[in-house]
């Protein structure tokens, strides 16, 4: 198995890009990743591409990506794995490079969520992601999937809505200096608690916005890394975990077993543990999801998330800063792009050039959970080759 390095990373701003289509966003992200390669990069070097998109827009995904980015001479494969699409796309490309079949690969993620009315999106996406007979007619809207977990989590852990609000406050603060973030303003705990309810226990400010955007990575085999950069970021571990799809079958809803499985695989491949992670981008589509994920990723003990937030352990300057980019909560969440963009942030962190730099970060993690809550993908990146 060959080692794999990220040599270029780029992304569009995350926003409601009403004026840009998926065919605009994808080449924008790819061009930024190409321009990001220190020692220059010729697109002709790309031997294969993987494209993560949750919902096809303007045509079938792989074709739209290849066509819009001018990549007609290489194989392009679409990856879709719910909200874990981004990190899973990198995982699939990683295997091709590490196995020796591909030396230089392009990894792209993108989604155009705001292409339909925000009201219509509810039913359109639900019909694809719920059991047609059992769940779909009930009105199990996206926030409700996670809220069912959050209610049980609050009930058992003793954590409160105030702790959830601390996540939102932290991530909004982190987004302010990030030029790519969608919601660049600070909020207060009082404001989060007073926001209109969406699905209990989530108020409006506990929820990710709806976002459009794209992100891209260029990954290469170890022997080519120094041709492109003196500062390669090594893909040390990738992991994917799944769980029962219907909530009825999830025995303990205070945890996401998919995350536990994905993290276990990624840690094992990387040869590191939770204590080695200096900075993490964690899937915070809803505030409580970040809290549960602290525990599933091993950053804190079971039901220890509230205390960690109270102590500021996951803030910049804390023991393990989480979502320095602003996270899904404030940076935004175009699902296919989300995981790739998390890796863009970690690359910047490990190179010491992030907008919210975590001092001395050498090893970082990116994490997605989706499906809803039935698939997770985790990536561990490091400045250290082993």
């Amino acid at each position: 198995m060959r080692r794999v390095a990220i040599v270029g990373a780029g992304m569009t701003p995350f926003a409601e890009h009403f004026h840009l289509g998926i065919k605009d966003l994808l080449p924008m992200a790819v061009s930024e990743a190409v321009a990001h390669v220190d020692k220059g990069f010729d697109r002709k070097d790309i031997q294969a591409a993987w494209f993560g998109e949750l919902v096809s827009t303007d045509g079938f995904a792989a074709g739209v990506m290849a066509d819009s980015c001018g990549l007609l001479d290489i194989p392009v494969t679409r990856i879709e794995n719910a909200c874990a699409t981004g990190n899973d796309t990198l995982r699939n490309a990683f295997y091709a490079v590490s196995s020796g079949h591909v030396d230089v690969a392009l990894v792209v993620g993108g989604d155009k969520v705001r292409e339909t009315s925000s009201r219509a999106t509810f039913w359109e996406w639900m019909s694809m992601t719920r059991d047609q007979a059992w769940d779909y007619p009930l009105g199990l809207v996206a926030p409700a999937n996670f809220a069912l977990h959050a209610q049980r989590y609050l009930h058992e852990s003793g954590a409160t809505r105030e702790h959830m609000a601390m996540v939102a406050v932290k991530n909004h603060k982190n987004a302010v200096p990030n030029p790519k973030a969608q919601l660049r303003f600070e909020i207060s705990i009082e404001k989060v608690l007073a926001a209109p309810p969406v699905v209990t226990p989530f108020g409006l400010l506990d929820c990710t916005p709806q976002s459009d955007g794209a992100a891209a990575l260029i990954i290469v085999a170890e022997h080519l890394a120094e041709k492109y950069t003196d500062k390669p970021i090594w893909v040390r571990g990738v992991g994917l975990g799944v769980d029962r799809v219907m909530h009825q079958h999830k025995q303990d809803m205070t945890t996401f077993p998919a995350t536990v499985r994905a993290a276990k695989a990624a840690y094992a491949m990387a040869g590191v543990g939770p204590g080695d992670i200096d900075v993490a981008e964690v899937h915070d589509c809803f505030t409580a999801v970040e809290m549960i994920s602290y525990e599933d990723l091993g950053f804190v003990d079971r039901f220890g998330a509230a205390k960690a937030l109270e102590a500021g352990e996951t803030s910049i300057g804390g023991r393990i800063p989480v979502n320095p980019s602003g996270g899904l909560k404030a940076k935004g969440h175009p699902p296919g792009a989300t995981g790739i963009a998390q890796c863009v942030e970690i690359v910047e962190q490990l190179r010491g050039v992030a907008s919210n730099q975590v001092d001395g970060a050498r090893t970082g993690m990116a994490h997605n959970i989706g499906g809803p809550t039935a698939v997770s993908a985790v990536t561990i990146l490091s400045t250290d080759v082993s």
Partner: protein, 394 residues
């Protein structure tokens, strides 16, 4: 001569004591199941055939009988028929039915309620005396739901009710008159029967239940426009089951913009027996229950056939949320819960019904009741909703 083994009445919780109305997730079928199910639970294995009498069928086609039997928890092989009729048809069906027949009556308009009568070999006797059909179409409903109302109460009284009863030449004043409002009935009956909550088919069961509770015996009549039916009730021992939660107004909700929710009829048909009968697949190898049923056992991996087995209809909330944002086609706020059924370990994701939204809490106990969960492309989609036990939440 029929014997009334069990009577059950059911009133939806919505509206006022004077007039109950159906909730947004109820119709004549869900009311019928509520009344009939009480009888089936009281006398398991006693029912051999089912007759539903109503004029408020939610649809003329679409497997009404199958939905009814599944909701009642009866085998699909049970003989089942639907009679389009009001109070006289109901009294006729009850007084002439064979033992083992479950006659269910359900009304939506003008007031909602349902009743069920299980005929057996013991219990109070009800014998048919006579009937007379007449035509005085003061109110007409066409098949698309349009109504014509002649609106002449005096004509109804003189040439409808009175003329029909005259034709029957009763030798006694009846002890109960079903099918009429309290005021119209008062002058026609002896004694002081309770005001009946409905005026359609179910008013017969309400009248019989009231008569049995006050140990009255004698003639019972049922009237609809210019049609009447009469039977004689003798005293006897009949179980009378009442179900009526405290009446309450509709909660304040907001209806999201209209939305046509797609339906997959293959998915509907595959799920039907399990979803409407609330039955789990049971692994033939290890006994593990699966809801919905699955090809491969969630516990042992066996792919042997998994026969369906009924689940308990009582449950406790494992987790619950309230949806507050507008959702196209739905009324918000609404609650969703994951409910653990009895002590089976099986959980079901359900809407919460029969109370104020945003009050469902973890640990609440209640029952699973058949409801119309959605109307998808015009097709009613039935399934189970969780109704918290009264008083369990504020």
């Amino acid at each position: 001569m029929a014997h009334l083994q069990v009577l059950a009445t059911h009133q939806p919780c919505w509206g006022s004591d004077a007039r109950r109305v159906v909730g947004y997730d109820e119709d004549a079928l869900t009311l019928a199941v509520a009344a009939g199910r009480a009888v089936v639970e009281h006398a398991p294995d006693a029912v051999t055939s089912v007759v539903l009498v109503t004029r408020d069928l939610p649809g003329l086609e679409g497997g009404t009988e199958a939905i009814l039997l599944a909701g009642l928890g009866l085998p699909s092989s049970t003989r089942c028929s639907v009679v389009l009729g009001g109070a006289p048809a109901a009294l006729d069906a009850i007084s002439t039915g064979a033992p083992g027949t479950l006659v269910i009556t359900a009304d939506v308009e003008p007031a909602a309620g349902a009743g069920a009568a299980l005929l057996g070999t013991s219990g109070a006797e009800l014998g048919a005396v006579g009937r007379s059909e007449g035509s005085l179409p003061l109110k007409v409903r066409n098949t698309s739901g349009g109504t014509f109302d002649y609106d002449d109460p005096r004509l109804q009284r003189v040439r409808g009710t009175n003329a029909a009863l005259d034709r029957l030449a009763l030798d006694d004043k009846p002890i109960a008159v079903a099918g009429l409002g309290a005021k119209d009935a008062a002058s026609l009956v002896q004694g002081s029967p309770a005001a009946l909550p409905t005026t359609g088919a179910s008013s017969v069961v309400f009248a019989l239940a009231d008569a049995l509770e006050r140990s009255a015996a004698g003639l019972v009549t049922a009237v609809e426009q210019a049609t009447a039916c009469v039977a004689r009730l003798a005293s006897g021992s009949t179980a009378v089951l009442r179900s009526a939660r405290a009446a309450r107004p509709f909660p304040k909700t907001q209806l999201g913009a209209d939305a046509s929710i797609a339906i997959s009829l293959p998915a509907y048909e595959r799920a039907f027996d399990s979803k409407l009968g609330l039955q789990a697949g049971q692994c033939a190898t290890c006994g593990t229950l699966a809801l919905p049923p699955r090809h491969r056992c969630i516990e042992c991996g066996s792919e042997d056939p998994h026969p369906l087995t009924p689940l308990p209809r009582d449950g406790v909330v494992y987790t619950a949320v309230s949806v507050h944002v507008p959702v196209p086609g739905l009324r918000t706020p609404y609650d969703l819960a994951i409910v653990e059924l009895g002590d089976t370990g099986v959980r079901l994701l359900t809407p919460v019904t029969g109370g104020e939204p945003a009050t469902t809490a973890i640990g609440d106990a209640g029952t699973l009741v058949l409801r119309r969960l959605a109307v998808r492309h015009g097709i009613p989609d039935y399934g189970y909703a969780f109704e918290p036990t009264e008083g369990a939440t504020p």
